[in-house]
């Protein structure tokens, strides 16, 4: 881990979100609700070359573990991301983000005329039709969502 590819300094404890689709780091930051009011220590690397020759973004957040709905949201906009849990400077656990077969209350339906976009007491719910590139289907109106989904994340 001391190789030169480690562009930002090592963190002692926290989470490294790696292999984010290039350009999407700021959207990941938004998902994690990191803004001018938060105190998280965060480093961002964008468009860095990755081992497979492609470009990727990386986000490192100190002293924080991700909630499962945060991981689902990341999977929706960056399906190839990996989550590395760092403890005492070492990668203690590492996994690929993986969308479950259904997601609930992580993204809203893009169809304005969908019953889930009304004041009815129902959660937004989607079936995952395809994981990468992501393709979702609203269980209510059957609307298919794909492409950049970041504007619809809850």
């Amino acid at each position: 881990m001391s190789r030169k590819e480690l562009r930002v300094r090592k963190i002692k404890n926290g989470t490294v979100i790696d292999h984010i689709s290039p350009g999407y780091a700021l959207k990941v930051i938004k998902i994690l609700e990191i803004d001018e009011k938060s105190n998280d220590i965060v480093s961002i690397a964008m468009n860095v070359p990755s081992s497979d020759g492609e470009k990727k973004d990386i986000v490192k957040v100190e002293d924080r573990e991700l909630e499962s709905n945060e991981v689902d949201k990341i999977a929706l906009i960056a399906p190839n991301a990996t989550i590395n849990i760092i403890e005492d400077y070492e990668v203690k656990e590492k996994y690929d983000v993986e969308l479950p077969r259904k997601v609930k209350d992580v993204i809203k339906c893009s169809n304005n005329n969908c019953i889930s976009n009304t004041r009815e007491p129902v959660a937004y719910q989607f079936e995952i039709k395809q994981k990468s590139p992501v393709r979702l289907k609203c269980i209510y109106c059957k609307n298919i969502m794909e492409g950049d989904l970041s504007d619809y994340l809850l």
């Binding site: 169809n111 005329n113 969908c114 019953i115 889930s116 009304t118 004041r119 009815e120 007491p121 129902v122 609203c138 269980i139 209510y140 109106c141 059957k142 609307n143 298919i144």
Partner: protein
């Protein structure tokens, strides 16, 4: 067969085998008056105006000996100002054995079905689905042609926004028919619907055409739908397009002798009135068939044994 308390939300909830069984049941109950649903109450809950669907459900229920309570669209909309659909459905559940729901929002029937144990019958949810109409269409084709598989079916009109067409095409493709999609370029079927129609296990072909003339000779069924003015920026453009899709006797001269002409109604001027008395017209029969299909469904979900 028995559908005990099953919701009728989407045509896709039914297998091909179940669809066939529904069509056969419809043939059995067509024209019959029975009292098997005596003591049962059907609630018509329409948040949008409807005459055909509402009245045909009413007729169907009454011909089976059941009763109907109805909320008109004005009453329903005054309710919906103060109350959620989820609540309304739970209230109406207390008065009835099943609810027929029409609602302007897509997915409304699916949602409603989560709030009641009584069966919800989707009578149209926005531009999404209208499964009893779809079954009526399938019944009409099956009844007229004895067999659906292998037919050449042309569907003309607004294939992009029209809900009737979309819901009908999928089950038709499952029956391995050949489909001609006939529409102006700007109203062609959406990419994802096309992909579904061309699924691997389907044995018929699907072709897109821009004029009826090109294919009229091949067709066993021509299903006509309306091209709506609202879809066009300029009314001149609309007049031109709509005019070129009008079905008249001149066109039908080139067709097979036993072609049948269908239309979900109401029609505006996409089929010329001179066609009504020809041997091809089936749209009024199609509408009447809606009663048989709805009777079959009501018997399947509410009947005793």
């Amino acid at each position: 067969m028995k559908f005990n308390d099953r919701d009728i939300v989407s045509i896709n909830d039914f297998s091909k085998k179940e669809i066939k069984e529904i069509l056969e049941s419809a043939e059995d109950v067509e024209g019959e008056k029975k009292d098997i649903l005596e003591g049962k109450v059907l609630a018509n809950l329409f948040f949008e105006p409807s005459t055909r669907t509402r009245l045909s459900f009413e007729t169907a229920m009454k011909q089976l000996g059941g009763k109907v309570i109805s909320l008109s669209s004005t009453q329903a909309s005054s309710i919906s100002k103060g109350e959620s659909l989820a609540d309304t459905v739970r209230v109406i559940e207390g008065y009835s054995d099943s609810i027929v729901l029409r609602h302007p929002k897509e997915g409304a029937a699916k949602m409603a079905s989560k709030f009641t144990d009584n069966p919800i019958i989707n009578a149209g949810d926005g531009s999404n689905e209208h499964p009893t109409q779809t079954l009526t269409d399938l019944y009409t084709i099956w009844k007229e042609k004895k067999e659906i598989t292998g037919l050449n079916i042309g569907v003309v009109g607004d294939l992009k926004y029209g809900r009737t067409v979309h819901s009908l095409l999928l089950p038709l493709a499952d029956f391995d028919v050949n489909i001609y999609l006939i529409s102006p370029l700007q109203l062609r079927i959406r990419k994802e619907s096309m992909e579904q129609l061309k699924g691997e296990e389907k044995n018929g072909f699907v072709e897109e055409k821009t004029s009826v003339e090109e294919v009229i000779e091949e067709l066993d069924v021509l299903y006509v739908t309306r091209i709506q003015k609202e879809r066009f920026a300029e009314s001149q453009e609309y007049e031109k397009v709509a005019g070129s899709y009008k079905i008249d006797m001149d066109l039908l001269k080139k067709a097979k002798d036993d072609i049948i002409l269908m239309h979900p109604l109401p029609r505006v001027d996409e089929i010329s009135p001179e066609v009504d008395n020809s041997s091809y017209a089936r749209y009024f029969e199609q509408s009447a068939n809606g009663v048989a299909i709805r009777k079959a469904l009501l018997e399947l979900i509410l009947g005793e044994e």
